[in-house]
Symmetry: C2
Subunit: 361 residues, 2 copies
């Protein structure tokens, strides 16, 4: 009875009768699976995945449902992008520098040592960067949108103080990818070990240092108890973008309005995740300091040596990889422009505010 009444109501006006079947065609029920590359315990970065799914469901009235899975539930965390590329799952929420072993170009959308900060990266994407990256992603059967950022990360936990470049020699540091290459040029020994094994390795002294994310996430791992020197800035991750990677064929099957919903939701999640990190990190930093963390800035000597080493690595990669070079040149040019402007705008504003905050205690 109820069904007939509803249909009858639909037919009462011509406009509704015409619109209804068109709606049914343009708003199909679609279910997707999205693998995060992160565990649920990292509630902010994994949470971006949940927020994204919720936004898309809410704005499509539950018709386009994306079920989020923690890293490892569907596919191994670091193979999430490959699984999307192969069409095993429709999409993932991951950090593309996990793939730099295949091609260092994967680093450019995520994080590059001494590269663009969070706001600058968005500006670069807006003004040409996204178009360059899109070509690269398309060659991997992917459509991708920035959908989260951690902001500048910390430089990691060290068992002893490091003050000079000499102190880097032989340093066994859990750090991956391009950063490992940069540090290896200075004599450090990059270590690639799973997150779960890092605490015991630090405790036993099998490794000397390990980097993770920032205060809020680092606190959970308890590194402060075994490697109390907490260095900043994390010059290799001045911003880390988490992308939504979507299988290209699946993307093309979506109605235009669902494509728009997903695109807009990713851009919104980007703001949301960064704001959550910014809101949670200050209190965690205070707690860590209260638990014995010794905050230390990297010395200018170390930063300059690492910067020089980074430029060498970029030149070496560019010489071998024209695809990387094209995007890197755009990225690095944007960096120069961005800091020209930031220096007199936000940076000078922040400099004064930081000084007044300190003076007031």
């Amino acid at each position: 009875m109820r069904r007939r009444t509803m249909l009858g109501a639909g037919f009462a006006t011509g406009a509704t009768a015409i619109a209804a079947p068109a709606l049914a065609q343009s708003a199909p029920q679609i279910s997707w699976r999205m693998s995060s590359s992160f565990p649920k315990s990292l509630d902010t970065i994994y949470g971006g995945c949940e927020t994204l799914a919720r936004y898309v469901s809410d704005i499509t009235d539950g018709r386009f449902r994306i079920q989020p899975f923690a890293g490892g539930e569907l596919v191994p965390p670091l193979q999430a992008i490959d699984a999307v590329s192969a069409g095993t799952i429709e999409m993932c929420h991951s950090t593309s520098f996990y793939n730099i072993g295949k091609d260092p170009t994967w680093a450019l959308g995520a994080a590059l040592p001494f590269g663009l900060n969070a706001r600058q990266k968005q500006a670069w994407l807006q003004s040409g960067g996204q178009a360059l990256l899109d070509t690269f992603y398309a060659a991997n059967n992917l459509v991708a949108f920035a959908a989260g950022d951690t902001g500048a990360q910390m430089g990691g936990w060290f068992r002893r103080e490091i003050k000079t470049v000499e102190d880097l020699k032989g340093l066994k540091f859990r750090v991956t990818g391009i950063t490992g290459q940069i540090l290896a040029k200075l004599g450090a020994v990059p270590q690639s070990i799973p997150a779960a094994d890092t605490y015991p390795a630090l405790e036993r002294g099998t490794i000397d240092a390990a980097e993770w994310i920032g205060p809020y996430d680092d606190e959970k791992l308890g590194f402060v108890r075994v490697a109390p020197y907490y260095y900043f800035p994390g010059w290799w991750e001045g911003s880390v973008v988490v992308h939504a990677f979507i299988n290209q064929a699946k993307w093309q099957e979506l109605p235009k309005s669902y494509q728009a919903a997903l695109t807009v939701a990713c851009q919104a999640v980007h703001t949301d995740m960064l704001a959550k990190y910014d809101a949670k990190n200050p209190a965690a930093l205070r707690r860590l300091a209260g638990s014995g963390a010794q905050l230390r800035p990297f010395s200018q000597e170390i930063l300059l040596a690492c910067y020089k080493s980074a430029l060498e690595v970029y030149a070496e990669i560019s010489a071998k990889n024209p695809g990387f070079k094209t995007i890197f040149d755009s990225y690095w040019g944007a960096r120069s422009d961005a800091y020209l402007w930031q220096q007199i705008s936000d940076y000078s504003y922040d400099a004064f505010n930081i000084a007044t905050r300190q003076n007031r205690g």
Copy 2:
């Protein structure tokens, strides 16, 4: 014939026949009007309004259409919020500090001298600020979402150099609101004149200085020709949020999915507008410097005097206005926490990157 065929197709499966009328009810055709407070010539800040309308239309498949109007087309630019509050128009895209004559609480969501920068403001909104502001907006029949930010603005154009607090005495400065009150305490004479009259006033020397937005927008007004000293930072506008203000009753009439579409679209536009400003300002700054703009930092003496004056103004307002005080206390506490964290994360990262950029020329 076509219509009958479509209806027939709809009835061919029971599922579609049931779903269609439900869809028609939950996805009605809705048309709204949104007034910007800005002219179309300010294409980035006005453009936020167009982007927002496009996002909402795209993700609702054209069912929820919001028509954007430039400031003055429907209602006077500075009365857009009032028009929404009264229900004359459904929504606007405006900067709430235009309303501080009624209550200084309106400044808190938009911009406060020496206050939160763009990222920090998002973090504060996420972690309690939005809830506090919502109560205030609701009392004005409004629902509001941040939907754009300019980032830190410039300190304006001056006919002569100002180096000391003494130089502020008698300075006729086109600047509004709380900033005017802060500067008046130091002997300056705030001027409230329409944007269109500012150039001739500067040219004739009727006023000594005028602030506007940042390089990209300022360039169009040609102030460089008559007041070449271009000061930074704009300590009164370290971030200016543009809000989407929506009439509360109209908001409540929206289907939940349209509410979600509008909310998510606002969050996305927030990222988008800031990125556009960040992308456009560097080149405009170079052009202005090439046209004779003389970049000058405000002296520490001036900044400290203005900061002290700002704290006095906030204390005076708080003493008289408990609603302001509640939100301000949360805001100012968030500022202290935010800079504690930013100082060792993004700020220290940016400091090194700025230095390397300068060294490379």
